[in-house]
Amino acid sequence: MTLLKVDAIETYLGQYHILQGVSFEAKKGEVTVLLGRNGAGKTTTLRSVMGLAPISDGVITYNNKPIHKLPTYKISNKGIGFVPEDQGIFNDLTVEENMKVAMKKKDDVTMERLEWILKLFPDLKTFWHKKGGYLSGGQKQMLSIARSYINSNDLLLIDEPSKGLAPIIVEKVMRSIQEMKEKTTVILVEQNFMMASMIGDRFYIIDDGKTVHSGDMKELKEDEQLKKQYLGIA
């Protein structure tokens, strides 16, 4: 079942025509990976879904309802979590406070989720009262993912979680996403093809602001030609 459908969206940032027709679908329970070179428009695509970079044309539907005219906070409240490229940690707030800002409810379900998350990321528990600014890059990434996951969101948009992290941490982060996959749908933007292919189900390749290719992750793994052409991987 299709949870999120992005249909031929166009987005301008200032005078620059960044997205010129991006389309993709995210199926419930799957990890959809957006691939592409630097500057292809992957980040803008996620920001457009969140309403942070409003689209000028096209349609975005979530559960078959259009959401592209809603303000960001309403999109979020539909059940979409967002982990931005820069993690968006509130540096002057403690880890606890970062989580509290995100927690929409304080009911048992949320508390259970919190417990589960802290088990997944024990670092967050250790630094619970530390300010976000003091965390390492990997810990920030974990906090950001935890924050997007604390509410019972049905969809997570995660922008390059491996960026700037040591390989061992990347693995940790990826494993956590894999575990979350059990409970939620994920759209992942990723440059690290190894990681993407490890957890991804379907892929879309974005190039120059357009979707140019899509398919099953397994197929892409074998298709050296495609990888070379769009991802620069030999």
Partner: protein, 290 residues
Amino acid sequence: MDVILGILINGLATGMLIFLLAAGLTLIFGLMDVLNFAHGALFLWGAYAGIWLYGQTESFILGILAAIAAGAIIGALLEKFIITPVYGNHVRQILITLGAMLVLGELVKVVWGPNLIQAQPPEWLKGSWEFGGLILIKYRLFIIAVGTVVFAGLLFLLNKTRLGMTVRAGVMNKEMVEALGINIKRVFLFVFLLGAAMAGLSGILLGPYSGVLYAEIGLEYGILAFIVVIIGGMGSVTGSAIAAILVGVLGAFAAYYVPDIAMAVNMLLMLIILIFRPQGLLGMKEAAKQ
């Protein structure tokens, strides 16, 4: 010794008044990146509306409520009609809020006349206590108490409540707050109203303290609050509290010992801060740069 203590208390009371005004300004700037040069007008309208109702009803408490209401109502109008249209453009914000300041300042004269307005503390705050030769004027202590309570309340709100955390989070990253499902515009409005209400409160407290009101106090105290916010660091409530007390106390001592330069003390203090620490005492470095 008594003299010094007396001046200190005097300065502290002035500092608290300025703090009430500056706290809103610094929050509004920190969260919304809005330079509200009309903040002094909220103070002015709070003072006039409050003192007016106090005079009509002879209830200082009602006067205080009226002042808070006046500040908040005008603040809401200001936010909606003056500031929102020029959101994100500093130069136009400065210009338009300055224009609003001028108009609101003159409108006070239309409503309450251009003459000085007298104000007295209520009976229960008149007079003073004496402790071993030290005379403590009740009304000044009252201002210090109100200021302290508001400061404590503000710190509690910002540090211990989810709303406060959201405000602080918004200061750092508005987009992320939105992406977490919070309507930042509502938070903006709340902060604006809070700041406006504090400005109104500060206005009426000034009335019986200085004894007279006139329309120019709006611009005068508005500028003073801006100086305090710059000294304390844009966006920092604690910084503003420290700076306000610094300005109040230094001003009181200067007025006693070197009256000739008393008026210039604040300006000099700001000059020093701008030269050596442009982000202010507790401000973040990036906040000052373009």
